[in-house]
């Protein structure tokens, strides 16, 4: 790994942009593939499967939607579920917002469209290092979404041949990515404690039947405690 240039004259560092996007690409290809396989088996057409990956672009909610389509759930219910599952991006968008102050409006609009859990994880690390130039950021997003669309398409094409994605452990790409993104975010002991607290709270809420809102509620409470601890420590010193 070479030193990262953060000088005021950004170079066309294609290699760096590609290597930043690569882990997400390698996660999205198999998960997108799994989504395509499941969606074909749920009765969606290749066109619909690829279209969803282009205009919705939200992995977990697409997988949930597929299972709802398969059960012929009412469209409004599918849309409402998608809304709730993806509401967590509100917090991610807010967390990244301060880094976008120099950006043009259309760049913000394009960037937000491709804001996923994984791209958020990657960009929150980059932005902390001062790498928040719009062009490489949006390029990384476009590479990631292309991988998602390609994976979906290949899965849809192969869908009639494959009934089970489990032997290839395609289903573990998502948890593994969360592990890496989380570990990379932990900067000191307070972060670690907040992470442990949020994880356990999220699980407890889910166990008590809060199966749609557990992530959002746990995040809000845990981040508030973290901010409270920070504020308190600043007052002490």
């Amino acid at each position: 790994m070479t030193e990262i240039q953060t000088s005021s004259f950004p170079k066309p560092a294609w290699g760096h942009t590609l290597s930043t996007a690569m882990p997400v690409v390698l996660g999205y290809l198999p998960i997108g593939f799994a989504y395509g396989v499941l969606a074909i088996n749920a009765g969606l057409s290749i066109f619909q499967i690829v279209l969803m990956s282009i205009i919705v672009y939200a992995g977990s909610s697409q997988l949930i939607a597929v299972s709802l389509f398969a059960q012929a759930i009412h469209p409004l219910s599918i849309i409402a579920t998608t809304f709730i599952v993806n509401l967590r991006h509100l917090l991610m968008s807010a967390a990244l917002a301060p880094h976008l102050s120099e950006w043009k409006k259309r760049q913000v609009a394009l960037f937000s469209f491709e804001l996923t859990d994984e791209s958020f994880g990657v960009h929150s690390l980059r932005f902390d290092r001062g790498e928040n130039q719009p062009k490489p950021t949006i390029t990384i997003n476009i590479i990631c979404q292309s991988a998602w669309i390609l994976g979906s398409f290949l899965g849809a094409v192969a869908g009639n041949l494959i009934q089970d994605v489990r032997p290839f452990a395609l289903d573990y790409a998502l948890p593994a990515m969360f592990i890496a993104l989380l570990v990379l975010q932990i900067k000191n002991r307070t972060y670690l404690l907040i992470a442990v607290f949020s994880a356990i709270l999220s699980l407890i809420l889910w166990q008590f039947g809060v199966t749609q809102w557990h992530v959002i509620i746990a995040t809000i409470i845990a981040a508030s405690i973290g901010a409270g601890v920070d504020t308190w420590q600043n007052q002490q010193s």
């Binding site: 389509f69 998608t82 102050s101 790409a173």
Partner: protein
């Protein structure tokens, strides 16, 4: 479901996904935020990723599996170590999937 109904559903899904992604980035980016809110936003990444991770490891179907038969949990150990020691997103994902695939191969 009719072709047109599916398409309308997809457009609806796209809208309700895009709006929460856009609104905060659009309206908060040029505001001077209070110190507490900035501190709060600093903790959102760890909090949200942790809140997503633990349920994704432990929930199988519609219940919590906290037993030794949960391969996701076992695979999380080497994956977490690689993430911590190597700081590699790619290495973590590949190793995690490899461990789960191998475990499934040996444990029917």
């Amino acid at each position: 479901m009719a072709e047109s109904t599916v398409l309308i559903t997809l457009v609806g899904m796209a809208l309700v996904t895009y709006i929460p992604r856009l609104i905060p980035a659009w309206f908060l980016r040029d505001k001077h935020l209070p110190a507490f809110l900035i501190a709060w936003l600093r903790y959102v990444p760890v909090a949200v990723l942790a809140a997503l991770l633990l349920p994704s490891l432990l929930i199988e179907g519609d219940q919590i599996n906290f037993s030794t038969s949960n391969l996701y949990l076992w695979a999380a150990i080497p994956a977490g170590l690689v993430a911590w020691k190597k700081k590699s997103l790619f290495g973590t994902v590949i190793l995690g999937m490899l461990v789960v695939a191998i475990l499934r191969w040996f444990i029917p």
